[in-house]
Each structure stands twice: as C-alpha cells, then as structure tokens.
Symmetry: C2
Subunit: 275 residues, 2 copies
C-alpha cells in the first residue's frame, strides 16, 4: 500500500488510528497498553508515517517537531515501558519510534542541503531539488558472548548502573561481515582473539535504529586488555555467578546485575545458561 499514493490517501480518514506519542515516548493507558487516537489528534501540518493495518484500520504516527536529543537509555520512562508493555505493543512502538525519529532528524537532503518531503507513507523522503531519495536507516550492530573455560566475558560501559555488566557490542562497519565485526570488536574492546563465530539471534533496538545481531564465540587466550575509552571494566563470569545474578532480579547480587529482560543480552546469556 505504501507504494500506491491513491491507496494511501484513501486510508487517511476518520477510521484511521494515530499512535499517541509524548515527543518520542510512548503514551500508556490504564490497561497498560499503547494509547491510540484519531488523525484529528495530529497537528494540521504534521507529517504522517503509515505503520500498517490492524483490525482493518490504518495505523499512523505523526513526526514530532524534534528527534531524539540525548540517548534514550537515559530515560527511565523508556525502560519502564519496556518492562510493562506487551510484546506486540513494544514491536509497534519500536518500529514507529525509529521511523518518526528518523524523519525528525532527516528533514534535509544530505546530498544537496534542500528541504525534503516525506514519501511512500513515510518509508522514504524525496528531494525536490536534486531528486535524491533517502530511506530510513537501520544500523547493524553485533553483540557477542565470548566463552573460555566455562566462563563468559562481559563488560560494563561507563554509562551503566553500578554492578551492571553486559555482552560486548559494536556497529558493523562498511566492508565487514558479521563474523569479522565480532572478531574486531572483541579485539578492540578487550584485546581478545576469538575463534569461529556463531549466530544466535537478532532483535531490533529502536534507540535510534539498531538491528542487534547476537553471536557466540570462544577464545583460546583469556588475557583481557581493556579499551578504557569504551569500557570501565571487562571480566570473566562463571555460570554460578551468572545464575545467581539472574535469579536475584533487578537488584542483582553484590557482584553483578544481570542485563535487563528487554535487552537481547539477557536472552543471549539465558540461552547460554540453558545449553
């Protein structure tokens, strides 16, 4: 439908639903689910992004005045929403947030500097001057478990709450495979050379638009050299330490707070513990 301008225009009626957003944050109703309004709730000049059909109704979100200012992980409302929203609502919110944030931060043509226009229901922006087409971006990020002698390598970024450790991660760069990105990232951040890399699972992460690619690998030499510009600390955790931290919930143990449930690191470590 988004490639058919007439069909899209036909959807912009009083039956359509508008995802309620507070800036980029979700608006959550009494029932704990996302709140929806009608197109009448959008500002007259708002750019509308077509999210898809649900129950026969077209769903839209309005591009806010401003995109993400600071890092989303600093916003407690986001973490709280991720703990409470049903998975289908989280998926809807995540996709919508990525899209409207991208539009809010990409109103101009990167090729010539002119103002661009939303196209194809918000899955494209067109430049009326140089005719360049721009597409929402999704940035592949590798996130990896490294195992040695029955222990897992986890690290903590300076921004993490105290005692929280998680899987190392980093963007895939131009010219790399997923496996090469994993090997480079572990070497850069922890000075460790890994063996064959195995894919485990993926997850979209809309802060602002990552595709998290979860991997697993082993290494022969466990000696860690920490890159202090990236990490506060990195160390090996035993199965017992990880199980205790998982079972201790949000508060964690004296040593470790387990990655929180909405992050793929939680699933990766849980997958490893269950092997």
């Amino acid at each position: 439908m988004r490639t058919d301008p007439e069909a899209l225009t036909g959807l912009l009626n009083w039956r359509a639903r508008l995802l309620k957003l507070d800036g980029l944050s979700p608006v959550i109703g009494q029932d704990g689910a996302l709140e929806w309004g009608t197109l009448a709730d959008a500002p007259d000049d708002a750019e509308l992004v077509f999210l898809g059909m649900e129950d026969g109704k077209a769903c839209f979100a309005a591009v806010p005045a401003n995109g993400a200012g600071g890092p989303a992980y600093a916003d407690p409302a986001i973490w709280s929403a991720m703990r409470t929203l049903p998975p289908s609502d989280l998926a809807t919110y995540g996709g919508a947030r990525s899209l409207v944030d991208w539009h809010a931060r990409h109103r101009f043509c990167a090729r010539c500097g002119a103002a661009t226009r939303l196209a194809k229901g918000g899955w494209q922006r067109d430049c009326p001057i140089c005719e360049a087409q721009h597409f929402p971006r999704t940035d592949p990020v590798t996130i990896m478990l490294v195992e040695h002698d029955g222990q897992l390598l986890l690290g903590r970024q300076p921004r993490f709450p105290e005692r929280m450790y998680s899987a190392l991660a980093g963007f895939v760069e131009p010219g790399e495979t997923i496996e090469e990105a994993v090997a480079r990232e572990v070497h850069e951040e922890a000075g460790i050379r890994v063996n064959a890399v195995e894919y485990v699972a993926s997850q979209p992460w809309p802060f602002p638009s990552q595709l998290m690619i979860g991997c697993y690998c082993t290494c022969d030499d466990p000696a860690i050299t920490i890159d202090r510009t990236e990490l506060d600390d990195a160390r090996w955790f035993s199965r017992e330490e990880l199980e205790a931290a998982r079972d201790a919930g949000h508060e964690g143990t004296a040593e470790l707070i387990f990655p929180q449930r909405s992050a793929i690191a939680h699933n990766l470590v849980t997958w490893w513990l269950g092997r």
Copy 2:
C-alpha cells in the same frame, strides 16, 4: 587512530598510500591488483578517508566529486573487477568504495541542511551549525534460500540478464528481526509462508553499502504468487538443475544461469548443494 586527530595528522605524509580510483571504480594494474599512489595524487582540496594501516603505511582514499549515479550492477567494469581481483583487494576496495561514496552523497547535514565536514578520518561527518554527527551507513539486507521437497525457490529481477535466477532478497526494515524480515520478504515477493529461519553466512556488498545476511528456511505450501513489481519470475529448481547450471559456468544451461561467484547467492546455493 581515527579518534586521535594528532595521530591522524601525523599519518598524512609522503609515506602514505592513496588508493587509485576512477570515480568510484577500481584502478587495476598489470599484475591484476589494485593500484596505489601517494597523497600527491589527490586533488589539493580532496577530503581524505583513512582506510587503515598496511605494511606500516597509512592507506587513504580521496572522496570523489560525485557519488554513485546509477546502479553499480549496471557497470561491467565492476563485475569484471569482482571476478579478477584477489579477495583481500576486493575487501579493501569494497570498504573504501562504500565510504567515499557515502561522503560524496552526504556533504550536507540531514538535520539542518548546512554543509558538513569530514571527521575522524572519514568515519564521521560533523555539522558546524547544529552540531549533529553523521555516520556512514550500512544497510542490513536479508537474502534467503527457501526449500520445499528438495527444491530451491529462486527468482529473477527485471534487471537480471536472461535466464539468471538468484535468491530472493530485501532490506531489513525498522522494527524487524532478521528472521521476520526473511518471512515478510518471501511472503511479499512470492506469496509463500516460511518455517523457522536459519542464519547461514554474511557478506558486505558495497553497492552502495549493504550487509547481506544469508539465511535458509523451508515452507509447507509451495504455491507461488509473484509480486510483478519486484520480480519477473520465481520458480522451484531441482538439485539437478542447479548442479548443471553451476557446472556450466558463466553461460549457464538453457534454463538457468547460476548466480555469479562474487555474490553471496552463489555461496548460499553452493552451501545447500554440498549439504
């Protein structure tokens, strides 16, 4: 090194190597390898991208006046280079091409429209007006084998040479996992519902900046409904047909030209035939 401006400036000397490019195309020497010059070969006002160190020498590429105009797959010189360049040179060229092409097409700030400046050795652009930072993009694309009853589903895009079929493929969209992108793409293009998706391999594809994520899945119902806006044709191929086409080389059989060696589709089908 790219995050250390002083170290970077120190590399810009007469020892440094400059990757020779003809626009965005590789320049190949008598020995069949990439040609390198010195920084003196770059225009005085050229923006330089730091590619990394090799044999103790810093390697750079200059951003050309123009980025990619049309699709690179239409350029026979590119396909010829991919058949003849050694793998390490292909990797160097691919990474360099993605980067300089991105710079040439992103000289302005998408947030405010101002002219931006290359930063961090070309792994970033900074806006001097609104202070936005922009990063080279890498777009994750799923490419998938679908199997039913010992046969593989392949399709042909309208731009393909006659008789050439390849694996279906499509961009991962905001809010999707890799597995969801595979399922959506096969359903959109061929009307087929797939079962559990398995990751096989990945490959960077610098035309302009894709990360190809190769997957494998099966389906229960082989009835094909072709999306004619995306595909000319899609059909099931037997193991015998695929083996015959692979063995027939560039010319293919009367039925099928096998995907060419530099494309991940070649490796995926070869992987499947070898199972």
